[in-house]
Amino acid sequence: MSTDASPAAAAAPIETDAVIIGAGPVGLFAVFELGLVDIKAHVIDILDKPGGQCAELYPEKPIYDIPALPTVTGQELTDRLLEQIKPFGAEFHLGERVDVLQRLPDGRFNLKTDAGTEFNTKVVVIAAGGGSFTPKRPPLAGIEAFEGTSVLYSVRRMEALRDKRVLIVGGGDSALDWTLALQPVAKSITLLHRRDEFRAAPNSVQKMRQLVETGDVRLMIGQVTSLDGTGNQLEGATVKTKEGEERIGVDAMLPFFGLTMKLGPVAEWGLALNENLIPVDTEKFETSEQGIFAVGDINTYPGKLKLILSGFHEVALMAQQAHKYVYPGKKLMFQYTTSSSNLQKKLGVS
């Protein structure tokens, strides 16, 4: 469970034709459209699985406006797209966030992720939807000062919490998993949840209840109302319960309130932005930077509708222009998958 990130590798950058940022439905279909015009892509996503919002926000919820699929869930749509793009062998880099995107002297682009993976590519396709999924920050006064040192949204090293008094807040799998994992390591664990019901795996809940029973974990039903500490070191949290307010001494807090979407590093890449969206033209879906495209929910143009359907259309047109950059001077003949033996070969069906 510990996600010890490998140290920023000094490995040579991956040389490629296209990098797609975002593995939501539109990013996935971009693999398909680029693949048909012989452009191989690498796909990067901050989530640890493909599907974007479809997989993270509504895997079980039906979508009714995908052409020819009267009803399909977010997860089914993702799975079908993955199957459809399989012939093109895109490489996925999951659980990574693109932090740097800059133009190289030779006109190509250099990208770096927070995990140290580096790419040199001819074109970039930003299919980042609503931005990067980031952990929700409880709106508590002064919390920013403690973040990264004593307020942690993910645990990179369990050892950092050895012999600490840890407050874990939340009622889902993350909260329960970390309660169980950290209990033998930490000096004390307090699990705080707003109600005495947990959405986590029943097995984890049962184990947690046992630890509460034996006095190894303290379970509190309530909510944090304020934090106190010195510098970046958290010292206490005030918790409101049915019985009233209580301040508990803690060295670290792990809040698990799910994820929210933030534009994130996209804002720092020097692209023209309009209210956190990337303006593009409607012929090529290209941004203010030649060779960088924006498709799906993250772009804007007159008449834009944030529909998966629109994103599918956008990637098809984007691929035509991308082909010009990747294969300059090479004429692209428009073909149908139904009749072109060339396309069918690429799809592995002929």
Partner: protein, 113 residues
């Protein structure tokens, strides 16, 4: 198709600074949609009404709690992702407006996250 003013549902949104905004919406839309259609600040609805993000959290005025009802299991689970949850907490995407809710009063939390 014309909707007579009398069939519209009036809702009062009270902001954390106690300022009030009265909006009108057609029955059948959700409280979240009514807020978004009328640019009520503080209702984010990041997931677009799928009960999947808890950023359309509101507090229902005590006098209206019986009529708006209690959260279903899925909504209750999703409220775990909201902040400063109270007994009156609801996700506004899960409240469908009906003529019976004409006059509804809800408070917007200080922050959705």
């Amino acid at each position: 198709m014309k909707v007579r003013a009398s069939t519209m549902v009036k809702i009062t949104f009270i902001q954390p600074d106690d300022s009030e905004q009265v909006v009108e919406a057609e029955p059948g839309v959700t409280l979240m949609e009514a807020a978004k259609l009328n640019d009520v600040p503080g209702i984010e609805a990041e997931c677009g009404g799928a009960c999947a993000c808890a950023t359309c959290h509101v507090y229902v005025d005590d006098a209206w709690r019986e009529k708006t009802g209690v959260p279903a299991q899925m909504e209750e689970d999703m409220l775990d992702f909201a902040f400063d949850v109270r007994e009156t907490s609801r996700l506004s995407c899960q409240i469908k407006l009906t003529p019976e809710l004409d006059g509804l009063v809800v408070r917007v939390p200080a922050k959705q996250f």
